[in-house]
Subunit: 343 residues, 4 copies
């Protein structure tokens, strides 16, 4: 099975190369880059194994891509750009795993509200599927040709909340999520905000009160619960390269308990290799998950306030992006779910 | 006016030395340390100006302290230890500015609940005063001999909330505060948790759901509002040396608006040099306040959720500790409030 | 082939677990720890895959170790402690790969000079072998039972210099090496020096002029050259978790050139997967090699000073410790040299 | 005495604002910026005291600058740009303290060699003076109108070496300087190299073998010694915001000793508040000097190699730039040398 990564020079693309070049069940055959076509991957991205020095970026030429000898295409492209590539590849009968936001929302209207423009391809949107590998039933997506991967912040919020909202053991109102992201979450943008001297030593908030990822979080969680939810989402930047730490606070419902909520999380995730519900007294830490495809989750009940506090930690570039995309591919092609990934 | 710092070798003590050694209205005459007595301050703490090489730590000898030729004593001691020193010094007629938690609470019962032991000196507690320099009316404390300085997390939460709760323009329930602290907040403890390799790259939660500082926050804010409040307080560690970023989320009351709430904050703080209410669209950043005694505050209303989101940033060792202690001293002795400090 | 790691809870031990648990040619069967015996590896070291939650630390019981069903023992123990374990295991006919300094030197006298005590087992020392996997001919060590792995600083200095000294195209005098190490180089020692607030923002020198690793560097390079060498070695700490950057300056010999020196390095290392001689104009960067077992090397001639400047970068915990130990094991058991490692 | 800072929005400019706004002997009256003219200093540079919110950037209008009511002009401009401003201001009889490289070299030929273009104003160059405040005799510069401040790397190398070369107690050949600089040394350039994710965790070399600052170092030290010197200078980037750590290695001369060399350094610097020769066994650390205008220096003799190893640490933005510029101003106007600065 041959693989092509389109837009392979960004942070997500590079992580995809790392994982797929070492993957035992597939063959990474092509990597494309508009700016680096013709150049050696290992020389342009010296973090990569120099064993890859003979792999070369090819141009991201829309006309030639369908003819490539590849079965699965990963799109690691900016939002808005991915859609054009997806259209051509899906038409050519290829499997497309898209890491951009272009097909994450079901509603084209919500897309317009949050992205400030018409959705670029509503027909394709209707034929795409959003896949949370632990939660979306395989029959809903294994025949689909266009798969949207969850965003980094959404993964850290949806994975712990989805089961609780689905089972209606927490209220659908009053959920507040504070997330702290490493700087790679912004991608490779060369902007003043992301310069070393601006970020070192800096904890700061941004995108309050209406970050784009909110649309995806609310759509998925509303779907889980059957009610329209509103989430308060406060994103922040923390002075570290990778990782997202999310702290969710919400009121508890009567007749529920910490134990009961934990047992539901365990029921959903006990057999899921990449979701780790922590023992009482332990808290997630980005340092524990960076480099893995795992999400660590803790849940505590506060008897004083009757609130629930949920913490989660993940690597934004792995479980929050490229790792999860490969996890989806593994399930799609039927190899071991953890192949190429660290749990 | 001569000054003595007791326990001058910890992080707060060192910041006090930095400020007071350069202060134009007082004379830093003594610094004590149990472990470093007899040694040169500048040699033991090479971050300090080597102009201080002739200043020597003296022993923290309880019997000899009252006889020192000093008017004001700063206590930069661990909780539980400060009380013993305060007793002796107050009895000797000295002014004592205490940076520990020993006299921050009004209620000895709350102290016992949060600190796990009887308050070491209830009589003295009754004769001490907790001073938020921008908020506590000067007539309540300028004749007092034992002043308790606010804690670092509490300052970042109380300063923005106090006016709003006092004016009853926000509800007394449903307040959730997430704080992200630099590692110096833990003091100079040599423990595995605070090792470089544990903390670099790490964002993590701790002390949930009942951190000690909660007692002080709730006591002060209940006092402001006239109602017993419960706050959800989620502390975290961020990979940086200094600074606290706090994000507070709370429901709004009908008939209030972002503009009205901001106008109240501005009314309370317009003439306060160390409180800076940011213009719309700006968010506090620890990098902007580290090295200053300032607290930066933003307030936003979310029309979707009808919640208020308040952000604040301060230097945990300055506005959250030693800077604020000197600010209190400045007001006490009647010199310029900003003397020796950066606004 | 079954593997046992002794002293598996330190930084090197944890890296060995990471690599060997995922290694396709061997079976990680035992991990020992004096302090954590009986506890789950994944719970005690949450950075590790939680797939390892059923692997438990066993006691480091000298009497029981020889009876374990393991073929190869890695010693990730402090200097001085390793020797005792090595003795027992070698006597029992086990293969021992030692990451400590106990068997790195040929001369027991040099050991005494640098480590301040008699060598704990001179007989065993005489029967051990120091292996630089790219340089030590396999016939010299493939039948040996006790293999000493190179130190982190020495690897970064010996790999680039050895070929040049052996071919006598650089002088044996006047070599100056400045190394900058990440903090994990100090191990898990809980000491004031390695606290986050001490190291963040800090570049500093230490151990000048006679760091212990000098003994190993000089012994190996003298051996390569056939003359007794003296090296000036200046170690430093840099504010980062992992990685060593070394800059070596030395005079050039007449009738040599940058091109000739590079061609010698390329001749020695062209077929070595973990040594990467960079193209002209590129410099090694710790960020490029952390997480890999690779060492990146550049060499430049300065026509003004007629000096040679060599730079190298490696991951101190991988190529400088555990990765190189596994590389040696791979060669020893005859599997692919890169198995389990990133080039 | 009124002050104007031209180019006040870069890192050096901001440090100048911080120092001069709080300086008791001068009045910071004007700050100029091409890009921020008309805007509030405190709003555009939120690290600055918000007490400066009424200070506004004015345009850097060459025609209007001479008419400003200011006595001293600091130029914090890019190399090549400063010269134009200096010309106009000197002609108008103003005192100019230039932080750029435009007037640091005596030789216009060396300028051309290192900066790749003709010197923009050779006549002015001949009438400017390079001032190391501890070393350049005041009679040589107190009547000059155009003063060039030393560069950051040169300060860290010239201050320790100058006295030893002048007294001819070290050789003029074989000096090797390795410097490790914080990222702010590159200024506010928004380039990929200086992005957070590129630099966090990275130690790397650059500019080898012929960095521009070499010209200034060699010119000054040759002048001190009376012989043409060649220095090997290896600059590096370290993952920290501020600070330079320099390690210099050189052969010793017969009939010299560590003690003798230290006594010469002490003779030159004992009465200099900003130069701190460390006691035996102590090493400079960037964390000790960041925020101060001090340079810490250690010197060790290695009896094995007969080499001298000198270490120095300074804040690149203070002693290496703006702090030293103010120190020069203090000496120029005859106020206390340490006014506004921390020793």
């Amino acid at each position: 099975m041959n693989i092509c990564i389109i837009g392979a020079s960004g942070y997500s693309g590079v992580e995809l190369i790392k994982i797929l070049a070492a993957h035992s069940a597939v063959n990474l055959k092509y990597v494309t880059s508009r700016s680096l076509a013709g150049q050696s991957v290992a020389e342009q991205v010296p973090q990569l194994s120099h064993a890859l020095k003979d792999l070369k970026f090819i141009a991201s030429d829309l006309n030639k891509l369908p003819a490539l000898d590849a079965d699965i295409f990963f799109l690691a492209l900016p939002h808005g750009v991915a859609s054009t590539y997806a259209e051509v590849l899906v038409k050519a009968g290829k499997k497309v795993i898209d890491l951009s936001a272009d097909f994450r929302l079901n509603s084209a209207e919500t897309y317009k509200e949050y992205y400030g423009q018409e959705h670029p391809n509503k027909e394709l949107l209707a034929n795409s599927v959003y896949v949370i590998p632990e939660l979306t039933p395989k029959e809903k997506w294994h025949n689909q040709n266009l798969i949207a991967c969850p965003g980094c912040y959404p993964t850290s919020i949806i994975v712990p909340l989805y089961p609780l909202l689905k089972e209606k053991v927490i209220p659908s109102n009053g959920i507040i999520a504070n997330s702290y992201s490493g700087i790679s979450g912004a991608g490779k943008k060369v902007e003043k905000t992301y310069m070393y001297c601006e970020r070192d030593g800096s904890a700061t908030a941004y995108g309050i009160p209406k970050h784009r990822h909110l649309s995806e979080i609310e759509e998925q969680l509303s779907d889980a619960n059957g009610n329209e939810l509103l989430i308060q989402f406060n994103p922040h930047l923390a002075p570290m390269k990778r990782g997202i730490l999310t702290t969710i606070t919400l009121p508890s419902l009567p007749n529920t308990s910490e134990k009961m909520l934990l047992s539901i999380l365990n029921k959903y995730y006990d057999d899921k290799p990449f979701v780790n519900i922590l023992a009482k007294g332990k808290f997630p830490d980005t340092n524990h998950v960076v480099g893995t495809n795992r999400i660590d989750i803790s849940l505590n009940y506060d008897p004083r306030t009757k609130n629930i506090i949920i913490n989660s930690a993940e690597d934004n570039l792995l479980k929050g992006a490229s790792g999860q995309a490969v996890q989806i591919m593994n399930l799609l092609i039927g190899c071991k779910e953890t192949e190429g990934l660290i749990a």
